[in-house]
């Protein structure tokens, strides 16, 4: 069923209030929206990361749904195991299939958990992998990850990162996944419908969600949604989906806002915006433009 208004989602909360997320946490907004949209029954698997730390301060838990926490690298492997076990139980008439949702951060997805995800996607388990991308290891104190964009200051790249962000969506598309999509919490309807669509598709599906982090991106906590919106409208985080290898841009930005508008709000890019680092800023803009042009070409190759 398509989500068309907020009342369709109201009262389906999977996360309780009172967890210890920072003020204005983007990851919790993203995770809340995923759980609101998800069709029960489902089991959530989380690798180590911000989400695990904030949702389970002993002796409390914020989860109202079945939840498994596993080590940083093997969330996808554990999810595969649960899926396979439930499949067998169903066949023997001893239980019923649950949908599996893995919710991991960018560290557990782009870097540490990549080989487990690769394995799960290659074996073709029926699961939905959600990555909330806050572009660094926020939980351990803002270290660089493969998802950190060019020029972003982290505690391990004090002069700004020099490398581009890893293109995780292309990696998972090339695994032959039936559905891979990106989403932003400010487009809640798009996000909710993508979760529903991914759940209805048999096989390994992936959802990449931008999750601004006030602590690690250094901005005022009230601007989380505004920054997610700017990331989309400046083409830094394009919203698109790939269904059976067919690219479709869901949110076509014909007149993008200047990238500086997005960068200026976040102090992590203060170094990038200095006049002596103009070359790095150019590289950032080139990265945004190249990715968008590549997407346009891919989307044009598959007319609707």
């Amino acid at each position: 069923m398509q989500v068309s208004k907020l009342l369709d989602l109201y009262g389906r909360e999977g996360l309780s209030p009172g967890h210890s997320a920072c003020q204005g946490c983007g990851a919790t907004i993203a995770v809340r929206q995923v759980l609101l949209a998800a069709e029960p029954p489902y089991i959530v698997v989380s690798p180590t990361g911000c989400l695990e730390v904030i949702s389970t301060p002993y002796p409390y838990t914020a989860w109202r749904v079945p939840w498994v926490h596993v080590a940083f690298e093997n969330a996808a492997a554990v999810a595969s195991g649960i899926e396979a076990a439930l499949r067998v139980l169903e066949r023997k008439g001893l239980g019923r299939r649950h949908k599996i949702i893995v919710i991991g951060g960018d560290g557990g997805t782009f870097d540490i958990g990549l080989q487990a995800i690769s394995g799960a996607f290659e074996r073709g388990h029926d699961l939905l992998y959600v990555c909330y991308d806050n572009e660094a290891y926020m939980n351990t104190g803002i270290q660089r990850s493969a998802a950190t964009p060019i020029g972003s200051v982290t505690t391990t790249t004090p002069a700004g990162k020099r490398e581009r962000k890893k293109d995780i969506v292309s990696i998972l598309v090339s695994h032959g996944s039936p559905y891979v999509a990106t989403a932003s919490p400010h487009l809640w309807k798009d996000l909710a419908n993508k979760v529903r669509k991914a759940q209805s598709i048999e096989g390994p599906t992936f959802l990449h969600i931008v999750a601004p982090c006030p602590r690690g991106w250094y901005y005022d906590s009230s601007l989380t949604i505004k920054i997610a919106k700017l990331a989309v409208e400046t083409r830094v985080f394009p919203i698109y989906e790939v269904e059976n290898g067919k690219y479709r841009i869901n949110y076509l930005i014909s007149r993008p806002r200047p990238v500086e508008e997005y960068l200026r709000l976040q102090s992590r890019f203060a170094y990038l915006l200095r006049p002596e680092n103009a070359a790095l800023l150019e590289e950032f803009k080139r990265w945004v433009e190249e990715r968008w042009n590549q997407l346009l070409k891919l989307a044009a190759a598959f007319p609707p």
């Binding site: 907020l6 009342l7 003020q23 983007g26 907004i29 949702s55 002796p59 914020a62 005022d220 505004k226």
Partner: protein, 90 residues
């Protein structure tokens, strides 16, 4: 919360029991809804990280001041600017 003191191993007895924690003291500004402007559109609720916003039985949007951390997203995102951030009196 039902907790058995004789058990020494860590067990959580209820799902979603963080709602028993009060995080109101994290807050320096409190959001206040101006009823005249509010249309109960729930935009603040979908963008709340907690969620510390709920609908009461009459269908009006209310703020749960025990769990609001005062981040200010609701005031920033309200389409009618019906939410104002007011300094807490301590």
């Amino acid at each position: 919360m039902s907790r058995r003191p004789e058990l020494l191993i860590p067990i959580v007895f209820e799902a979603g029991n963080t709602s028993l924690r009060k995080v109101a003291n994290w807050r320096s500004n409190r959001p206040v809804i101006e009823r005249r402007l509010c249309t109960n559109c729930l935009i603040c609720w979908i963008y709340c990280p907690e969620p510390a916003i709920y609908m009461d039985n009459a269908g009006n949007v209310q703020i749960d001041y025990d769990h609001c951390k005062g981040c200010g997203i609701c005031a920033e995102e309200c389409p009618r600017k019906a939410i104002k951030m007011v300094m807490e009196n301590v």
